[in-house]
């Protein structure tokens, strides 16, 4: 019975996210125009496993977006729409979206503060302009797994409990493949993209965005049938119903849960080679 209730809860949340489509309260504001598959600059560069197939090198901007992922050496996976994060306060309807993707942001986040940075990790804090939320992310390299691990901690600064949607997004162009020969999938624990064309050196490469923590409420990966980032209040919009995509797609991993007054909810994800 408990499991049935959980499934019903998931279904309700999924429908809610779909119904909210088009009701975004914060218009997308372009902050840059993408010009190519790779980010031109890198604020914070991290490298692990320099001589093996577990090689990973990635760049993190001061805003906490990952502007490039190279794994293994010479193989890049982020497209022109970039990577980033967002969250949505569900109530009052239609919700309030806060987000920072490479090329677009919601315009309602204060400037980021870098709390710490070294050659293995960076910790960045952002609060919302309304003061309602503080978002702290720690992005750390994991040499053992050949991955970039992301911890996102969302604090509710308000005096009442709030339901929040928390997402991570990437425009995945696996091994720089944007449409032809690029496959995308999504499941409970991950969303992923890989290049499946025949030819080259006979090896296919890709990227996975996966949950690596414990979360007791709704969570799911999505394969988006377009490269643009979603409105966090509508994260399931444009998601493939089958969890399969072939074309210029993108990946989203989403969590939904209640964040109690003056408490913090924490999720853990990672990027690694598919």
């Amino acid at each position: 019975m408990k499991r049935v209730m959980q499934v019903l809860e998931f279904a309700v949340l999924f429908l809610l996210a779909s119904l909210l489509y088009g009701q975004r309260t914060a218009p997308v504001s372009a902050t840059a125009v993408a010009s190519g598959a790779q980010a031109p600059a890198c604020d914070h560069l991290f490298t692990a496993n320099s001589s093996s197939n577990a090689f990973i090198r990635y760049c993190v901007s001061d805003r906490g977006t990952i502007t490039s992922i190279e794994t293994p050496a010479g193989h890049f996976h982020i497209g022109a729409q970039g990577e980033g994060y967002g969250f949505c306060q569900q109530d009052p309807v239609p919700g309030t979206a806060y987000y920072e993707f490479l090329n677009v942001n919601s315009g309602n986040l204060n400037p980021p503060t870098i709390l710490s940075a070294n050659d293995s990790s960076i910790k960045i804090s952002r609060s919302t302009t309304d003061g309602n939320w503080t978002f702290v992310q720690t992005i750390a390299k994991d040499a053992t797994a050949g991955s970039a691990k992301i911890q996102m901690a969302l604090s509710n600064n308000q005096a009442v409990d709030r339901v929040a949607y928390l997402i991570r997004f990437v425009d995945a162009d696996p091994d720089s493949a944007r449409s032809f020969g690029a496959g995308t999938g999504a499941s409970l624990q991950s969303a992923f993209a890989w290049e499946f064309a025949v030819g080259g050196d006979g090896i296919n490469r890709g990227l996975v965005l996966e949950n690596v923590g414990a979360w007791t409420q709704f969570q799911q990966g999505y394969a988006r049938l377009q490269p643009d980032p979603p409105n966090p209040c509508d994260f399931a919009n444009h998601a493939s119903a089958s969890g399969v995509g072939i074309s210029d797609t993108s990946l989203v991993y989403a969590y939904v849960g209640t964040v109690k007054a003056h408490k913090t909810a924490t999720v853990n994800l990672r990027y690694r080679a598919r």
């Binding site: 408990k2 499991r3 959980q6 499934v7 998931f10 279904a11 999924f14 496993n49 001589s51 093996s52 197939n53 577990a54 293994p72 050496a73 010479g74 053992t144 797994a145 050949g146 696996p174 496959g183 999938g185 999504a186 499941s187 409970l188 624990q189 991950s190 992923f192 890989w194 290049e195 499946f196 064309a197 025949v198 080259g200 050196d201 006979g202 090896i203 296919n204 490469r205 890709g206 996975v208 690596v212 923590g213 414990a214 979360w215 007791t216 969570q219 799911q220 119903a241 089958s242 969890g243 399969v244 690694r272 080679a273 598919r274």
Partner: protein, 277 residues
């Protein structure tokens, strides 16, 4: 240039593996078509669980005395291994056409000594097998990883011979993601992992399984998607591999393979993992 050379090496191994395909008949231990392996005590002598049953991180799996993972349940009530089971194999490349040693639940090469359980606890099991000819010893340590709700497989292969030998090491699983054998099953493979998931558009959540490398390996390594559910000959691990590693609506299986030289009286170690997609 480094990658060009690596690519050539990769292609050479893949071609060699394809060329020798079919040179070693399988010794079938059971007939396909039987019900999928369950979590019963008969099928599952060593059961490992992670997470609460009500949680998405719930992960339960069985290991038999021979070191096969007979079933994976992730999360609760979602099973992912088909009737051809799961298992391991390796091949001594020389002398040609190579010698295959394998145990895939339903298929066994018949050239093993009996397995020995070196240790077993609620979190891991360590099993040793030596080949009947005494040339090799394979020690597997299969552990649960609570943090990533996954299985960690460490396969340590020791060459007991006085000469260095090239060995192929393979892990195989007949994956039926969320019980989907053909219809509604999607599968793929890339350099670090092979994976399959339920693509039924009528379900709110898609469940699946991935088999991937999680260690460091300096030789050839690659995941393969097979267009059939049967296990490969380890001496021809790429023999059934799809050229384009993406299939939908096909009864597939997954293989992860490593190739490398094992020095005389030395051990090589590979590390893999299973987790939900």
């Amino acid at each position: 240039m480094k990658f060009a050379r690596f690519g050539l090496v990769s292609l050479t191994f893949a071609l060699a593996a394809r060329a020798s395909y079919g040179q070693q008949p399988f010794h079938q231990l059971a007939v396909a078509g039987q019900p999928a392996i369950t979590m019963s005590a008969t099928d599952c002598p060593h059961v490992f669980s992670i997470g609460k049953a009500s949680s998405n991180t719930f992960f339960q799996y069985c290991v038999n005395d021979r070191g096969n993972i007979t079933q994976v349940e992730a999360p609760l009530a979602h099973f992912h291994i088909g009737v051809q089971g799961e298992g391991y194999g390796f091949c001594q490349q020389d002398p040609t056409p190579g010698t295959a040693y394998y145990d895939y639940l339903n298929f066994d090469s018949g050239n093993w000594q009996a397995p020995q359980i070196l240790s077993a606890s609620s979190s891991s099991i360590k099993i040793s097998r030596t080949t009947a000819d005494g040339n090799w010893t394979l020690v597997q340590t299969i552990s649960k990883v609570a943090l990533t709700h996954s299985i960690k497989l460490v396969m340590a292969l020791t060459n007991n011979q006085p000469l260095a030998k090239v060995a192929y090491i393979a892990r195989f699983v007949d994956v039926n993601p969320d019980g989907q054998q053909t219809h509604n099953a999607a599968s793929g493979a890339a350099i670090q992992s092979a994976f399959a998931w339920n693509e039924d558009a009528g379900v709110p959540v898609h469940y699946g399984l991935q088999l991937g490398n999680i260690g460091k390996w300096s030789g050839f390594q690659q995941a393969y998607l097979q267009g059939i559910p049967n296990p490969p000959n380890p001496c021809a691990f790429a023999g059934n591999a799809e050229r384009s590693p993406f299939l939908e609506g096909v009864d597939t299986s997954l293989v992860y393979a490593y190739v490398g030289s094992v020095g005389a009286h030395k051990t090589v170690i590979v590390t893999l993992g299973y987790r939900g997609t």
